[in-house]
């Protein structure tokens, strides 16, 4: 049974969205969902959870972990724990926004390319293939360097316009296989419009693919943001985990032995990635019976 079928069945049995029910049944995925929920809560409740303002540099600099500052302070005298907690927000927001945006771009390009075919497909496929081979990080850096505005939304935009190609290719292939199915022809003969056929006949059979693509795009976006921030090309106004590592590296955390400042952002990042990967396991296994049956 495919994910779509299972989802349709599950939806009919409960009021929850079908795919969520399916994901919850998978053990790995359940752990991932719980972890992810934890990160989301931390992000949402950051002002309440964090002991200080993340930018408050009124403390002594380069303090080791201790009672007042569980993870110590930065070279500039900011509280590392507070920065860590607020950092969750940036990763989640960028992941969600850039993941969603690049999924939308991928979906639009993939749908148009695959459904229309012909010259439109040739042109769009060319750009997809081009975007696939262009080195992403140098492109990101170039785009970020030229942009007259800096900020979180620039990062989101840069990550989205550089990260949609793989998803578009996969979706195009899926559409091409779906649009020649007999039931699509049948819908044409039933008098349905093209828009309706895409929305009601094709899309429901692509949900798991779209979810997998979205999760992948989120992972990529979170990694991309961290990379840019670590290179000092991130949003200067926000404290993200990548930026923390950048400052820790430049601030000589290694030489002063402030392992917490160095280790904590990396582990937090890894934790979030593991959560998303675990969720992805569930989605992947459902959409790919080969992986499921082993």
């Amino acid at each position: 049974m495919t994910a779509e079928l299972a989802a349709t069945e599950a939806r009919r049995a409960t009021r929850l969205p079908g795919w969520l029910v399916i994901l919850w049944r998978n053990r790995k995925c359940r752990i991932g969902l719980v972890m992810l929920a934890g990160f989301v809560l931390v992000g949402l409740l950051a002002p309440g959870l964090a002991p200080y303002e993340p930018r408050d540099d009124s403390f002594d600099g380069s303090l080791p972990p201790g009672a007042g500052h569980w993870l110590g302070t930065t070279a500039r005298g900011e509280d590392v724990l507070s920065q860590l907690i607020y950092g969750a927000r940036i990763s989640l927001v960028v992941g969600l926004a850039a993941g969603a945006l690049s999924t939308v771009i991928a979906l639009v390009v993939g749908l148009t390319s695959g459904y229309l075919g012909g010259l439109v497909d040739e042109i769009l496929s060319f750009f997809t293939n081009l975007a696939l081979v262009v080195p992403v990080l140098p492109l990101m850096i170039t785009l970020a360097a030229y942009s007259p505005v800096k900020g979180l939304w620039l990062i989101v935009a840069v990550i989205s316009v550089t990260g949609w190609a793989y998803g578009a290719r996969i979706k195009r292939a899926q559409i091409i296989s779906l649009r020649t199915r007999d039931y699509v022809t049948a819908a044409k003969f039933a008098g349905d419009s093209t828009a309706r056929i895409i929305m009601k006949e094709i899309m429901p059979n692509m949900t798991s693919l779209v979810v997998v693509g979205f999760m992948g795009a989120c992972l990529g976006a979170i990694g991309g943001e961290a990379g840019l921030a670590f290179l000092g090309l991130g949003d200067p106004a926000s404290v993200s985990w990548g930026a923390m590592l950048n400052q820790a590296n430049n601030g000589g955390a290694m030489l002063t032995g402030q392992w917490a400042w160095l280790v904590a952002p990396g582990l937090a990042f890894a934790g979030l990635m593991i959560a998303l990967t675990l969720v992805n396991f569930g989605v992947d296994a459902l959409s790919n019976p080969h992986l499921r049956e082993d």
Binding site: V133, V136, L137, F230, G266, I274, D294
Partner: protein, 331 residues
């Protein structure tokens, strides 16, 4: 033959598109690009050398004319290999600077990429061959989790552990202050010492994608009818795993090999900046921080063309390896 011509056509088209993209990016910002850049340069404390303004203009292909004449001028400059003069390393032309940094990156990335591919593909094939055993889950899960660790953080940890705590290898740079680049044994051993940690960082994360890709592909091919028939034929396990599993499963990885170069070069920017390694990646980052636009643009173009070229070569190789594409792609 048709397949090869088609791929060559695609290569030419992408090359043109990359060159054009490089032309367009600075023009995406509102206003006159040359003035915007010069204005931004004048925002910095030091005075602007008129030569630097000229460099910007060369890079942009004399931005006074219409977009079309600019484009024609720009294409001409690219064809002649004129990318202007770097103003960080004034008066060296950009190409000279790139030529210096190029080999550092080519050797570091080339060696680690090939090693990663070989190790990853072998491990993945082995995991698929021993699928559903403990070895398989250790390899698959292990690499998945290492893959979630931020790459630059791993690099920092390596420095912390091997350079600062254990003091086994130098932490930063491409060679030590005591040796000068040249054809001497001292220099090479010094450069090797310096490249161990960056290479290690690349080698920890490098094989992961190949492991997962190879394993999943091969598990699939081993489930196909031809692999079952091979079992029915009583072929030795090795022959089945190699010719009926790995031989077919490796094909997508071959295309992936070149396609991944784009991502690897991204990783090099991080690695080189962390280890202060004198390659293209660090140069690119420096050019961004110093607002050395001619250098940055030329670097972007160079890296892109390099990746496109690698992809083209991989496509050619794929055509030789897979008898199916020679006909099917053309049809």
């Amino acid at each position: 033959m048709r397949y090869f011509l088609r791929r060559a056509g695609f290569f030419a088209a992408t090359l043109w598109a990359a060159v054009t993209l490089n032309f367009l990016i600075p023009r995406l910002q509102p206003g006159d690009p040359a003035e915007a850049i010069v204005a931004r340069l004048s925002g910095r404390s030091q005075a602007i050398d008129p030569a630097q303004v000229a460099a910007v203009r060369t890079m942009l292909g004399a931005p006074d004319g219409t977009l079309l004449t600019q484009y024609v001028n720009y294409l001409g400059a690219v064809l002649r290999g004129e990318f202007g003069v770097s103003y960080t390393y004034f008066p060296y032309p950009v190409t000279h600077m790139i030529g210096q940094a190029l080999w550092w990156t080519v050797i570091l990335v080339g060696v680690t990429h090939v090693l990663s591919f070989a190790v990853g593909t072998l491990l993945g094939a082995w995991a698929a061959h021993r699928r559903n055993t403990r070895a398989d889950s250790v390899i698959t899960l292990g690499s998945t989790f290492v893959g979630t660790l931020p790459f630059f953080w791993l690099a920092l940890m390596l420095i912390y552990l091997f350079a600062i705590t254990l003091n086994w290898f130098p932490a930063r740079g491409g060679y030590g202050p005591g040796s000068n680049p040249g054809w001497s044994w001292i220099f090479f051993s010094d450069a090797f010492q310096h490249s161990v940690l960056p290479a290690l960082a690349l080698l920890i994360v490098g094989p992961i994608g190949w492991i997962i890709g190879m394993r999943n592909n091969m598990v699939q091919t081993l489930g196909e009818d031809y692999a079952r028939l091979a079992r029915a034929k009583g072929l030795p396990q090795r022959r089945i795993a190699l010719t009926y599993g790995a031989r077919i499963a490796i094909l997508p990885n071959v295309t992936g090999f070149a396609m991944a170069l784009g991502g690897i070069l991204g990783g090099t920017v991080l690695v080189e900046s962390i280890f202060n390694y004198p390659g293209l990646g660090r140069m690119m980052l420096d050019s961004v921080t110093n607002r050395d636009y001619p250098l940055m643009q030329a670097l972007f173009l160079f890296i892109t063309i390099g990746v496109l070229l690698a992809n083209f070569l991989a496509d050619m190789l794929y055509g030789v390896l897979d008898p199916r594409v020679r006909r099917e792609v053309a049809a």
